[in-house]
């Protein structure tokens, strides 16, 4: 297994997939200039799903999840998030972005603001929540990711794992319905990977809809209800995790799994 096993038992009681659609992607294509990165992607995500996206480097995993909150624009096809279609209409984009949280590989905390300010900024300025209430919410989520005592420090004073947990808390403060993770543990040392994965598992246990690009196959096996394998900008295979790992169908998937497992 690539980095580590998850030791604790994952509590699956809350992890139920509803039949309500959270994200609907239809025949979506994207080009960088003339380079065709995403080709005819079709994907339906239901509320409460935990989807892990795997695939070799450059296969378009990041691009795909960045299209979902329109950090990247798609050129054809349709993306509907929570009933709102992403188009050039900025109102829709802002609406989707405030419903979808994102955690980046390099945390992207705001270095000039304290941890608490990082967490309250968007609730105050986007959701127009009073400062006091926003700070209470922020402290609640900081406790959840187990670093309330760091609230008044600056990101530069925290370890990588702590920073990533703050980044998760910062997203959660917006009370998103969907969370996107782009290789949240790739920039971390093994010890810190565990603390971040733990936080993510807790989130999954509470029923959050999650799309996770990761190389942590232990996480995929225990937490995901679906694994998607991408190559060359296409979804090559998807299945529930046990089947995916034990009985891969396509040659590309087999090759990929043989390299990382």
């Amino acid at each position: 297994m690539s980095a580590m096993e998850i030791e604790r038992e994952v509590n699956r009681s809350q992890m139920q997939v509803s039949d309500k659609v959270a994200i609907e992607i239809k025949d979506m294509n994207k080009w960088y200039g003339s380079f065709h990165v995403l080709r005819d992607v079709n994907l339906t995500v239901y509320e409460g799903e935990r989807i892990v996206i795997a695939g070799p480097s450059g296969s378009g995993k990041s691009t795909l999840i960045r299209c979902i909150n329109r950090l990247e624009e798609h050129q054809s096809g349709q993306i509907v998030v929570d009933g709102t279609e992403l188009s050039s209409d900025l109102k829709n984009v802002d609406k989707v972005r405030s419903e979808v949280g994102m955690v980046f590989q390099h945390f992207n905390l705001f270095p000039h603001l304290t941890i608490l300010e990082n967490c309250t900024l968007a609730p105050i300025w986007v959701r127009k929540i009073p400062r006091k209430e926003a700070e209470e919410t922020a402290m609640h989520f900081l406790e959840k990711v187990k670093i309330p005592e760091q609230a008044n420090k600056y990101p530069g004073q925290l370890s990588g794992g702590q920073q990533q947990r703050v980044a998760i808390a910062r997203s959660l403060c917006m009370k998103p319905r969907i969370m996107l993770f782009d290789e949240p543990t790739s920039a971390l040392d093994p010890e810190m990977i565990k603390e971040v994965l733990d936080t993510m598992i807790e989130l999954a246990e509470e029923g959050m809809t999650m799309l996770v690009v990761t190389h942590e196959m232990g996480f995929a096996q225990q937490v995901a209800n679906r694994v998607i394998f991408m190559d060359a900008g296409q979804i090559v295979e998807q299945n529930e995790p046990t089947e995916f790992f034990n009985n891969p169908q396509s040659e590309r998937t087999k090759l990929f799994l043989s390299q990382i497992l």
């Binding site: 994102m102 390099h106 000039h112 300025w125 986007v126």
Partner: protein, 493 residues
């Protein structure tokens, strides 16, 4: 067989470092006499410094303060048996002129007050460790002191009493509360004084009024222009979109200032006359002129530079190309040419009879010039920000303006502080170029002073004095920027 195991049974106490590495001796040894070569260099440098000072100090130390002309100076120096000595009589006689130019002597309290109030207005912008109380206290104190230099009248005495009461009251609360935690008192419902930035905003209109005088209604009308701009933005932004509203919100006040403010001011003055004795721009001079031009241009060029830098990065093709053309054109032209345009050419193009103040024209040119540089300095700061910062702001749902204001600009400006302050310093020194178009800044005045038969032939004393005046300002700016950088450092504290 060796025994490789070792267990410490007793922890070592902390000891002082050897004396030769600490204190004065340690410092000297490390920094000045570290090896033969360094020792030689140190001795040579000390020798050079002593030699230079040995020549300069006796020249400076010359009891010519009361001399009335260069000839008298020569007599005094000759009598003391020295080969040469400075002639400080010129500074003694002319320093008020070097500071104020031909500003009427009986009105010089006004620019002096404006100068001190400038610092009070700047405190809340520049420092965060000075309390509101202290700020208001200083303001009341400066105004109170200023009243003693005015002609006394019944009204002045009332004003004096009010100010004295304010000074005493705020001063008392300052002392009485100095021990306890202000934040706690405020949380417990203590009354807060109003934000001192209110005075900073007022100062923008107060300063020109104090300097140029005239009716109070002109600055009031000017302030009204901003209110109009704000109202236009507020009313039109929901209807026409942010960008159009911003453009109109700039255009409306400009029209008001150019076309209607004069009418407004004279009409109001007819109803309620109140004002200061007017002073004309050509009476301005000396350091007063440099500071007026420098401070205004500095204050305006920063926001203008930010707008231009953002414009240059914009996705909107027209905004982008206008910004690029503006920046590249202005940067490509010497400031002197711009000043000549201001002094000569504008008069040709403007309709005859328009009275477009020369100082205002120069300020506009200096501002335009500095803002082009400022834009490039800030663009450097923007470029240094990782793309992830923009993405994180987007992903949290912040729109463009909020992301700029809350995330991007605070960081970009912080990175650009050294460059911004260099531009400020350069701009302030460049104000001496106005002497070339005939304005009497300190350098311009020094030429006319030397044209006086009494002082014909004086060079070093005047330029030294001017250099000292400028150095005080530029050095403070540079120290301030270092302080600010330290204050804003948030990594690894």
């Amino acid at each position: 067989m060796n025994d490789l195991s070792f267990v410490r049974t007793e922890m070592l106490p902390e000891r002082d470092p050897p004396p030769s590495t600490t204190g004065v001796i340690g410092w000297l040894r490390k920094n000045m006499f570290d090896g033969v070569w360094n020792t030689l260099l140190t001795i040579a440098s000390i020798g050079l410094i002593v030699w230079v000072l040995g020549h300069i100090l006796p020249w400076i130390w010359s009891p010519t303060w009361n001399a009335g002309s260069l000839d008298q100076c020569r007599e005094i120096v000759g009598a003391s048996g020295k080969a040469s000595g400075a002639c400080w009589g010129v500074i003694h006689e002319r320093w008020p002129q070097m500071l104020y130019g031909f500003y009427p002597a009986e009105l010089r309290l006004r620019p002096t007050l404006a100068f001190f109030l400038l610092f009070i207005a700047l405190i809340p912008v520049l420092f965060n460790m000075i309390s509101r109380r202290m700020n208001w206290f200083l303001l009341a104190l400066v105004l109170f002191v200023a009243t003693f230099f005015t002609a006394s009248s019944a009204l002045m005495i009332v004003v004096q009493i009010v100010l004295a009461a304010a000074v005493l009251y705020i001063g008392y609360t300052l002392v009485a509360n100095s021990g306890s935690d202000r934040a706690e008192q405020i949380a417990a419902g203590a009354r807060r004084l109003p934000n001192p930035l209110i005075f900073t905003a007022l100062y923008v209109f107060l300063m020109p009024w104090l300097l140029w005088g005239g009716t109070i209604w002109t600055p009031v009308g000017a302030a009204l222009g901003f209110v109009i701009g704000w109202l236009v933005f507020r009313l039109l932004a929901p209807v026409l979109g942010t960008l159009t509203a911003i453009i109109l919100a700039f255009a409306a006040p400009v029209l008001w200032w150019l076309l209607l403010n004069g009418l407004f001011a004279s009409a109001m003055h007819a109803i309620l006359p109140f004002g200061l004795e007017p002073v004309e721009s050509r009476q301005f001079g000396g350091l007063l002129l440099s500071v007026t031009i420098g401070v205004t241009a500095i204050a305006v060029s920063l926001p203008m530079g930010i707008v231009l830098a953002l414009g240059r990065q914009s996705d909107l093709v027209i905004v982008k190309s206008l910004s690029v053309i503006f920046i590249e054109f202005i940067r490509g032209v010497p400031l002197i040419t711009l000043l000549f345009v201001a002094s000569v050419l504008l008069n040709i193009f403007l309709p005859p009879g328009t009275d477009f103040d020369i100082i205002l024209r120069v300020i506009i040119m200096a501002t335009v010039f500095a803002s082009a540089y400022m834009a490039e300095v800030i663009r450097g700061g923007l470029a240094a920000l990782p793309k992830g910062q923009y993405e994180a702001a987007d992903a949290l749902g912040l729109d463009y303006w909020k992301a700029q204001r809350l995330i991007i600009m605070p960081q970009a400006l912080k990175i650009s502080i050294p460059g911004i302050v260099s531009t400020f310093i350069g701009l302030f020194k460049d104000t001496t170029l106005v002497s070339i178009i005939g304005l009497l800044d300190p350098v311009g005045l020094s030429n006319s002073i030397r044209a006086d038969t009494n002082w014909n032939g004086i060079v070093w004393e005047l330029y030294g004095f001017i250099a000292l005046l400028f150095f005080i300002f530029t050095f403070s700016m540079s120290r301030y920027s270092m302080y600010l950088e330290r204050r804003l450092r948030t990594d690894h504290r």
